[in-house]
């Protein structure tokens, strides 16, 4: 062994020792260490700040064609939703109404979630079949149809964390429940003042499935 190799080996041993004293000890010696290739293959999520976004880009111009081919049959040519499949576009200013329409344009707080979800789950039944660039193109097309970006805007891993979604501030945290603090464990037991008028019957709505 040459002096240099020996020097490198002892150096890396020192790094190894330092690492393992900082890191916790393995307790049971079960399982295998994952290598980078394994992790990269499965670690497909994209966070709101863009962390995890794969290198790539796309514009709405290119997105239209692939959307029409792979998505429109279920989600409609303009994202309006075909039959009972979900709508992806529309519903602006509807959230406080009687019939809120929650779409990627009207409701979703982050464009990263569109990338993440479409890549992992769509087209429905052929998950993870889109390329990174195709996914950017489709997300760009959906954002364009919702008037969030221009048709020639180049959406990419660099800027997906910066797209301003209309409903970005539409969510409340933290969970305020229990939000019903009625009786501290001692509810009324007798002669309680409640209305017992029947104002609706499921039978009259008549949408309950019946066994054949």
């Amino acid at each position: 062994m040459s002096g240099l190799v020996r020097w490198i080996l002892s150096f890396s041993l020192i790094i190894f020792l330092v690492n393992s004293t900082i890191a916790s000890e393995r307790k049971f010696n079960l399982g295998q260490i994952a290598n980078k290739e394994e992790v990269d293959g499965w670690d497909i999520d994209v966070r709101p700040d863009g962390l995890g976004a794969p290198i790539g880009s796309g514009t709405a111009l290119f997105g239209e064609e692939i959307y029409t081919e792979q998505c429109a049959a279920c989600h409609g040519d303009f994202g309006e939703g075909a039959d009972r499949w979900p709508a992806l576009v529309g519903g602006e200013d509807s959230l406080a109404s009687h019939d809120p329409e929650k779409t990627t344009g009207s409701y979703w707080p982050y464009a990263s979630t569109m990338y993440d979800y479409i890549y992992r789950a769509m087209p429905y039944g052929v998950a993870q079949s889109l390329s990174f660039d195709e996914t950017y193109q489709i997300v760009a097309y959906l954002l364009y149809m919702s008037d969030i970006i221009e048709e020639d805007f180049v959406l990419s891993d660099k800027n997906i964390g910066e797209i301003e979604m209309p409903n970005r501030d539409g969510f409340l945290l933290p969970d305020p429940r229990p939000d019903i603090i009625n009786t501290q464990g001692n509810p009324c037991m007798s002669n309680c003042q409640v209305s017992t008028n029947i104002i609706g019957k499921a039978r009259d709505i008549d949408v309950t499935p019946e066994d054949e």
Binding site: G31, R47, R120, P176, K201, A202, T208
Partner: protein, 429 residues
């Protein structure tokens, strides 16, 4: 001579079996039509002093049913779905037949299903759980690895946050199964995540976990690290046998007391990070829209709830006299402390008997005997949990949340018992 008799017996059995199957399917067909149920009568030839066939002839041998199934006469005790609810059966839900169950354990084959991309079929040899992100060691575990860790066995209920979601605006579905059946309760066997993570180590900055399924929806949810370390489990068995495929075989995440969507099935990965991931399931879905147009996010805990399973729309009262009112109560915040029953729409209440075991974050069985003399009743049940939280009325919930929040409807339901014994899901106001 002997041989002949044997033939006779097996011939008889064949005919008899076919009769039974026809009988069973016709029972199934009328299970929601109480009137016809009333006309199902016993065969006098089987009643005292007569000799029923099953008393005289041999039944099936031990080689007939290597995996036992319920009696053919229980063919109506099945999961049911509501076809008009969703565009595709692979992204849909069916419901547990709570009205037909006893005790506090849900049989594996009756646990409701909710999938977003159908049921994945996974050879356990091909199962891998990856743990990556802010851990000391990124690791991969086989199913066999998981089974060699210290083991835990716990009963927990799993309730979909959308259970009762169709009832926000009014009574819509006329059944205990359809309005409360997105809940089940089984004993899980698995490894606590706090044990599993001793192997990977955890970086100090790790505050959130992304749990990811390997199904075709790639189900993902963010879970805070405190919950993960508190009581979450990677489970591979339910009620003593391997998970059913539709419940995540070979392994799923168990998130006690929290909404069912987070209990990622067919689990393949846990990623540790310093921020939530804001997946589709925790933004587009499982957020609770209020009348202001703003939506609550990260509403994880399932608040206390109860249901009267019998009498119920599927379980009419068939005769006057003594009956046992039966029901189930549960809370994601701990144990059920008390359940009260009203027969007059909430004016007067009586406390029901809780049946042991009363476990934390588990269904709890209650009963209350009552006499019925043919009068109209408005049945309600009201759960109180160990935090003194009292199950609210629907109007209490509506006042704060409106009618469009879909999720987390844990309000008191009302069953109207009519003079003919039929039971209806009704709304009072």
């Amino acid at each position: 001579m002997k041989k002949n008799k044997k033939n006779e017996v097996s011939n008889f059995k064949k005919i008899n079996r076919r009769d039974l199957i026809i009988g069973a399917s016709s029972i199934g067909a009328i299970s929601l039509a109480p009137k016809k149920l009333l006309s199902e009568e016993a065969n006098p030839e089987n009643l005292p002093p007569n000799l029923p066939e099953w008393t005289q002839y041999l039944g099936d041998g031990v080689d007939v049913n290597p995996y036992g199934m319920p009696s053919e006469f229980e063919g109506h005790v099945i999961r049911r779905n509501v076809e008009w609810l969703t565009a595709s059966a692979e992204s849909s839900v069916n419901f547990t037949p709570l009205q037909d169950l006893e005790g506090f354990v849900t049989p594996n084959g009756l646990c409701f299903e909710r999938h977003h991309g159908g049921v994945s079929v996974i050879n356990p040899q091909d199962f891998r759980l990856m743990i990556n992100g802010l851990v000391d060691r990124e690791m991969i575990f086989t199913l066999d690895d998981l089974k060699r860790f210290p083991q835990t066995n716990k009963f927990y209920f799993l309730e979909c946050a959308a259970n009762g979601g169709m009832e926000w605006k009014g009574s819509q579905l006329n059944g205990c199964q359809y309005t409360f059946g997105m809940v089940h309760n089984v004993q899980y066997t698995g490894v606590k995540l706090s044990d599993l993570l001793l192997e990977t180590g955890l970086k100090e900055k790790a505050k959130w976990v992304l749990a990811e399924g390997s199904d075709s929806s790639g189900m993902t949810r963010s879970i805070p690290i405190e919950k993960i370390l508190d009581d979450c489990i990677i489970a591979w068995a339910m009620n003593g046998e391997a998970l059913r495929p539709e419940q995540g075989y070979p392994a799923r995440l168990v998130v006690p007391g929290w909404e069912g969507n987070m209990w990622v099935k067919w689990i393949r990965r846990l990623e540790f990070g310093d921020k939530p991931y804001m997946t589709r399931e925790e933004t587009s879905k499982y957020t609770d829209l209020l009348t202001s147009g703003k939506a609550r996010m990260f509403t994880w805990v399932m608040d206390a709830k109860s249901v009267i399973t019998s009498p119920s729309p599927e379980k009419p009262i068939l005769s006057k006299g003594l009956h046992q009112l039966r029901g189930l109560a549960w809370s994601g915040r701990g144990k059920i402390k008390r359940v009260d029953i009203s027969i007059d729409g909430g004016k007067n209440w009586k406390t029901a008997q809780l049946h042991s075991p009363v476990l934390s974050k588990s269904l709890t069985r209650f009963t209350l005997p009552f006499e019925w003399n043919g009068e109209e009743l408005l049945l309600q049940s009201r759960a109180i949990d160990e935090t003194n939280y009292v199950q609210p009325t629907i109007s209490e919930l509506q006042k704060i949340r409106g009618v469009n929040s879909i999720y987390h409807n844990n309000s008191i339901a009302t069953w109207l018992v009519s003079k003919n014994g039929k039971v209806d899901n009704v709304r009072l106001g």
